[in-house]
């Protein structure tokens, strides 16, 4: 397992930082912003303002370290737990919140943002990234598609088909598995008998690599060459980022039923954000003032995003019908009229 930045903020023996201090500060700011969003998400759900919310606390470095390897026009195809990566690649917090309030417009990021709405079904979306990568290549663009998914998703048949297509056609795809040790309640060891998830890439003829997923530098050090290789025609890579889901699966879940709080406590020591802060501080590149300023601005952004989301009027009855096709079918027009007539009566 590739490890570079240790929990105490020091570099592992013989390891070099893959980013300079300015780059590191930038990604650190993103980590902090992501956590602000995440904490807010959980809080809003408790107030009934969001539907169930899936926290990614503990997985920020895995997501942002990987997404930072993308170029702006690259594709990102990720899940309900990957808001940090999606946001980093351009998907506004506003849309992410909006989706969680229960509004389809959350799925509509601004033009130019090549991030699909988060996948709610487990496993089906990786092949979409494969298709995107394939389509880009056929259109002679050198875009890469990155797809993020959990350890649990590797049990689905669609994972296999996506990996296999990527290997057969040597497509520019990066598979980023966040092994956070659980699929809801099912521990990683009961999901598959293979020792690592990374080794599964061997079955598809391309490299797999396991990294400390709470280590921004390690994740980035794997993701950067993977995207570069993909872009230059070298084919796909599977990255297994070993991390941990600090919070319940979603706000509807009770982890006390399936895991020991000691385990969770132990992972606190491995927090992906604290170690970057320690690292920057040890290099004199960070201090409490900067931290306070960063936290304030992150909180402001998040507040503005939820306010904007909640300000929107819900979709009206007519709009339920209006995005099924480019043009409504006569049947949908009839149904829409029936609903409107009923409401007017």
């Amino acid at each position: 397992m590739l490890e570079i930045l240790q929990p105490d903020g020091s570099l592992a023996a013989d390891a070099a930082a893959p980013l300079d201090d300015e780059e590191t500060r930038l990604l650190f700011a993103a980590l902090v912003a992501a956590r602000a969003y995440d904490r807010k998400g959980t809080a809003l759900q408790k107030q009934g303002r969001l539907a169930t919310y899936a926290s990614f606390e503990g997985q920020e470095a895995a997501q942002i370290g990987a997404a930072a390897a993308l170029q702006p026009a690259d594709w990102l195809v990720a899940t309900y737990r990957d808001a940090a990566a999606m946001w980093f690649h351009g998907y506004p917090w506003m849309n992410l919140f909006l989706g969680r309030t229960g509004d389809e417009r959350g799925g509509s990021p601004p033009m130019g943002v090549n991030v699909l709405p988060p996948s709610i079904t487990v496993g089906a979306h990786m092949i979409h990234a494969v298709g995107l990568a394939w389509g880009e290549r056929l259109q002679s663009r050198d875009r890469v598609a990155m797809t993020m998914f959990g350890d649990g998703a590797t049990s689905e048949g669609d994972f296999h088909e996506a990996m296999n297509f990527a290997g057969v056609y040597q497509l520019p795809v990066v598979f980023l598995c966040q092994n956070n040790h659980y699929a809801i309640s099912l521990p990683r060891a009961e999901q598959t008998a293979s020792e690592t998830i990374a080794q599964k890439a061997d079955a598809y003829g391309f490299p797999g690599v396991q990294v400390d997923g709470n280590d921004l530098f390690a994740v980035h050090s794997a993701a950067q060459p993977a995207t570069a290789r993909a872009r230059s025609g070298g084919g796909p890579t599977l990255i297994e980022a070993v991390t941990y889901r600090m919070a319940p699966h979603t706000t509807a879940d009770d982890p006390g039923r399936y895991r020991d709080s000691n385990e969770t406590e132990a992972w606190k020591e491995r927090d992906p954000i604290a170690r970057v802060r320690r690292y920057l501080e040890s290099r004199g590149s960070w201090d409490d003032d900067r931290q306070a300023e960063l936290e304030t601005s992150a909180a402001d952004d998040v507040e503005a995003a939820i306010a904007a989301a909640e300000d929107l009027e819900p979709l009206g009855p007519a709009e339920v019908f209006s995005a099924m096709f480019a043009e409504m079918t006569p049947q949908l027009v009839r149904q829409q009229q029936a609903l409107m007539r009923y409401r007017d009566a």
């Binding site: 229960g102 509004d103 389809e104 049990s155 999901q191 949908l332």
Partner: protein
């Protein structure tokens, strides 16, 4: 007999069959340690062991395919799919294999398994958590399709499902898990398949519903009664086998029928019933059979979901329309 909700009624029944039917096994995602998303299997793994209440990987096709093999080997597996929207990866296993092995082998091999699936909208859940595509199962030859509407039926129909010699799709209305309380016999008593229940007696109009829509149909009947119209309310309980006779008897008396279905309109189960009613009772109809259904749209998310799901109000409006001749 104590009052329980539907989730509890199902839990009691599963506990009962695990205790009395040594050939039963439960398998599914998170059914063991957590007792399932809706706690329907709560406590069962602790009591019956992790060999018989199995937490599986996230692999719906694998769950159903493995349950199918188990059933052929002589067990009666009870598989759980977490939500109907996550059933589709298992579609091929069900339509190509589970539903066909008896026919394919002319009764030589059989697959007596139950697939329990929470279905339906009304709780403002995320996308894919609100599906009501029971018509897919009804359209697939070789499957029995059960949709209970209250705790007692849930228990009784599940018991029958487990004992049935053929594959049963058992759809549990999410919205009803905790909406209604009811008495459940202990041990539960089987409720036979193919016998609809008349939930209210009336002679002016027939309301036909199943699953989550039954309470709404009853609410609509109350509203109609306030206007002086008495509705016959029929709860189908099982779509396959279908108790068409009870429906026809009622419609022949009332001359008017409203079929309520949460699923999408086109080719939904309401279409089947409307087609069958006009086939068998055209000359008794005083008005077109009305369909109150979900639309041919994705089920909207929380903020607009109410525009989709049939309500007591929409049902009553359709009945009034029928009472006026359609």
């Amino acid at each position: 007999m104590p009052e329980v909700n539907m989730a509890q009624a199902l839990n009691l029944t599963l506990d009962h069959v695990l205790s009395t039917h040594t050939d039963t096994v439960i398998l599914g995602e998170d059914v063991g340690r957590t007792g399932g998303v809706f706690r329907v299997t709560d406590g069962l793994q602790a009591k019956h062991g992790s060999e018989r209440v199995v937490d599986t990987p996230v692999a719906e096709s694998g769950i159903v395919g493995a349950a199918f093999g188990m059933a052929i080997s002589g067990l009666r597996p009870i598989a759980e799919i977490q939500f109907l929207g996550f059933f589709y990866p298992a579609y091929d296993q069900v339509v190509s294999h589970v539903s066909r092995i008896r026919h394919r082998s002319r009764h030589r091999f059989t697959a007596p398994l139950v697939i329990r699936i929470p279905y339906g909208a009304g709780i403002g859940a995320a996308e894919h958590h609100s599906e009501s595509t029971e018509a897919l199962f009804a359209h697939t030859p070789g499957l029995k399709v059960v949709v209970p509407s209250d705790p007692a039926d849930a228990a009784g129909l599940l018991l029958t499902a487990v004992e049935d010699p053929d594959p049963v799709i058992f759809l549990e209305p999410i919205r009803s898990y905790r909406r209604l309380q009811g008495e459940v016999a202990s041990p539960p008593e089987p409720v036979p398949f193919g016998q609809a229940a008349r939930r209210r007696q009336g002679s002016d109009v027939t309301l036909v519903a199943y699953g989550a829509m039954v309470p709404d149909a009853l609410e609509a009947a109350e509203a109609l009664a306030e206007d002086g119209h008495e509705a016959d309310v029929i709860d189908l309980r099982t779509l396959v086998p279908l108790d068409l006779d009870t429906v026809l008897e009622s419609v022949t008396r009332t001359g008017r029928a409203v079929i309520v279905q949460e699923g999408h309109r086109t080719c939904g189960f309401a279409a089947e019933l409307a087609a069958s009613i006009q086939e068998e009772a055209l000359y008794s109809l005083q008005a077109p059979v009305q369909r109150v259904t979900g639309w041919d749209t994705v089920v909207p998310l929380r903020r607009a979901e109410h525009h989709y799901v049939p309500s007591a109000d929409r049902i009553a409006a359709a009945a009034r329309h029928a009472l006026k001749g359609g």
